[in-house]
Symmetry: C2
């Protein structure tokens, strides 16, 4: 064979997998990952498994684990090539998921699946995850980036992960204290968090006929569609920390996929709920999307958080005290209903 | 508006997300998930975070965590609509990843991303994950299924997850005992495990011109291409358990993406390695793929495991003892080289 002839030899790279690109992405994010590592992390980046010392985590520690992704919010990030904030959304989403059972976060592992691996994009996304971990005093303990031609279209990717937190067993919040007559206190979301993006994108693209760089209708700050839709998933850990060991806090529901009716009943052990939608402060983003999409009211409350990111179930006599504690935080609470009798189901009051 | 007129109202389902389908998939797999739950699991399926009691896990316990997927092996599963075995591949892959640091598995969380959610397919995949967890005495503690139209094509999906294991700190295997002159003992893979599928599929489809239901060339058992390629990722936990606290076991490398040269150096703390390829028993699947794809030899050892699933780094005087212990297992070891001097690099002997 003459050297200049094209070779028939197939390589891994010919098949769409560039191992060097994955290594470059990891190298570019290593410093940010290491910054998230505290004294409990016993191995450097790149070991087969991340090592986390669990010595002295508590007298009777319970690990609380949650796996999640950011859904099709990632397509908005792809559309405007902005990959630095979705990691924070993922981390803060997962923190809330373990927080509702009383846990503080310990560490996180991420996974990025991608059609064609762009080292800069992947490094930016991983750095976003690592920085959010650092900000919340947790370690980015491990992760995996997989280039999977065909499973993902070339310009699409998925970012998911698993968070491990810990709570002392006597302080696990599991809803077993919930009783009829308990009050529901909502905490405000800021925008869509990570839910309802398939519907929101459909409305933006097909009904509003907007580009992601266009101004979002009615936005008082004059932000673009992308800015409004990529607003970070809010984290309620700091606001709720003073309440986590409070016996008057009977349960919490993180409002994610399925909205209020899909999430609140998950923590009520069969008790009913009576929810006032009018009590939740209206946000322009939901009003605009629902009007443009002609989304039915009940449907909108299943697809979107509609302005409430977390609901606390509180002993009636503690309502004012809890509200005054939340008033000190970035997420002032609002009374939005109460717990109904056992087996009375989920109902809207308005 | 007359009732029979088509509505302009957009729903979440119109946008490609069917919440009921996701719930149906979870319902259909709940029994299998619950079977994996031992006494340390403190919450039922469906809680925001999975609860796992960490009381008494050890005097100085170290959690070992690994996140991974099954790569484009999933496209072979999709091609033949066989979703029951990929969960086992994922679990056994992740067990090996924490095993190399001396850890036993505790629990797992899975994530399935899918373009269009088929409840039967997703339930079958989750049940496969749960059954594998049960078989290895670990809990499927949580998970997430996300329907993401556009991120994934309708008929594609990704299955990934995170495993948490535990090892007593004094028994962490971290490669710090590795010395020049240590022996390398390989343990046989069975087929591709979960690596090299993008290249393998390209060869099968474009060079061999085979359908996945065709017989695989040269297979002594007359199996189909799909049967050969979907062979489960082998798990070395049972075989290696008698050696985990043995001070003569200096390091282990799980041979995954990047092959022997991409994985063995990860655990050697800068020591070199001299590897005999001829010492690794040949397997028909690699011989056929490499011949049909005209894959260069070095390239094939990076893309595929080439017959070795795990490499042990062993004190020279313990070689025979380790080999005799492995001879009792399903994965008899073979001597395949030795550790070189510090900074001497990775070399093939043949």
């Amino acid at each position: 064979m003459v050297a200049s002839e094209p070779s028939d030899s197939l390589s891994y790279r010919d098949a769409g997998v560039d191992i060097a690109a994955a290594e470059a992405a990891l190298d570019a994010s290593k410093a940010a990952i290491r910054r998230s590592h505290g004294p409990r992390v016993l191995a450097d980046v790149g070991s087969f498994g991340g090592l986390y010392s669990a010595k002295g985590l508590g007298d009777d520690p319970v690990l609380v684990a949650s796996a999640d992704g950011v859904g099709t919010k990632i397509r908005v990030a792809s559309a405007v090539q902005r990959f630095d904030t979705i990691g924070r959304c993922l981390i803060q989403h997962c923190i809330n998921d373990v927080l509702v059972q009383g846990a503080e976060p310990l560490f996180f592992l991420d996974y990025i699946g991608v059609g064609k691996l762009d080292p800069t994009m992947v490094a930016t996304a991983i750095k976003g995850v690592a920085d959010a971990c650092t900000d919340h005093n947790m370690a980015l303990l491990g992760g995996e980036t997989a280039e999977m031609p065909g499973v993902y279209p070339d310009d699409e990717f998925d970012l998911v992960g698993t968070l491990i937190g810990v709570v002392e067993r006597e302080h696990v919040i599991d809803g077993s204290r919930v009783r009829a007559g308990d009050k529901l206190i909502g905490m405000p979301s800021i925008g869509l968090h990570t839910n309802g993006y398939s519907l929101a994108r459909r409305i933006v693209e097909d009904r509003m006929n907007l580009a992601y760089t266009d101004p979002f209708p009615g936005d008082e700050e004059g932000r673009s569609v992308a800015d409004v839709l990529l607003q970070a998933h809010q984290c309620y850990l700091e606001a709720l920390r003073p309440l986590l060991k409070d016996p008057a806090l009977h349960a919490m529901a993180h409002i994610t996929g399925g909205g209020v009716p899909g999430n609140l009943p998950r923590v009520l052990h069969g008790y009913g709920a009576k929810v006032s939608r009018a009590a939740v402060p209206e946000q322009n983003v939901f009003a605009q999307l629902c009007a443009a999409g002609d989304v039915e009211r009940d449907e909108s409350w299943q697809a979107f958080n509609m302005g409430v990111g977390m609901i606390l179930v509180v002993a009636p006599e503690a309502t004012e005290r809890v509200e005054s504690i939340l008033a000190e935080s970035d997420y002032p609470g609002f009374l939005m209903g109460e717990i109904g009798d056992m087996d009375s189901g989920f109902h809207y009051l308005d």
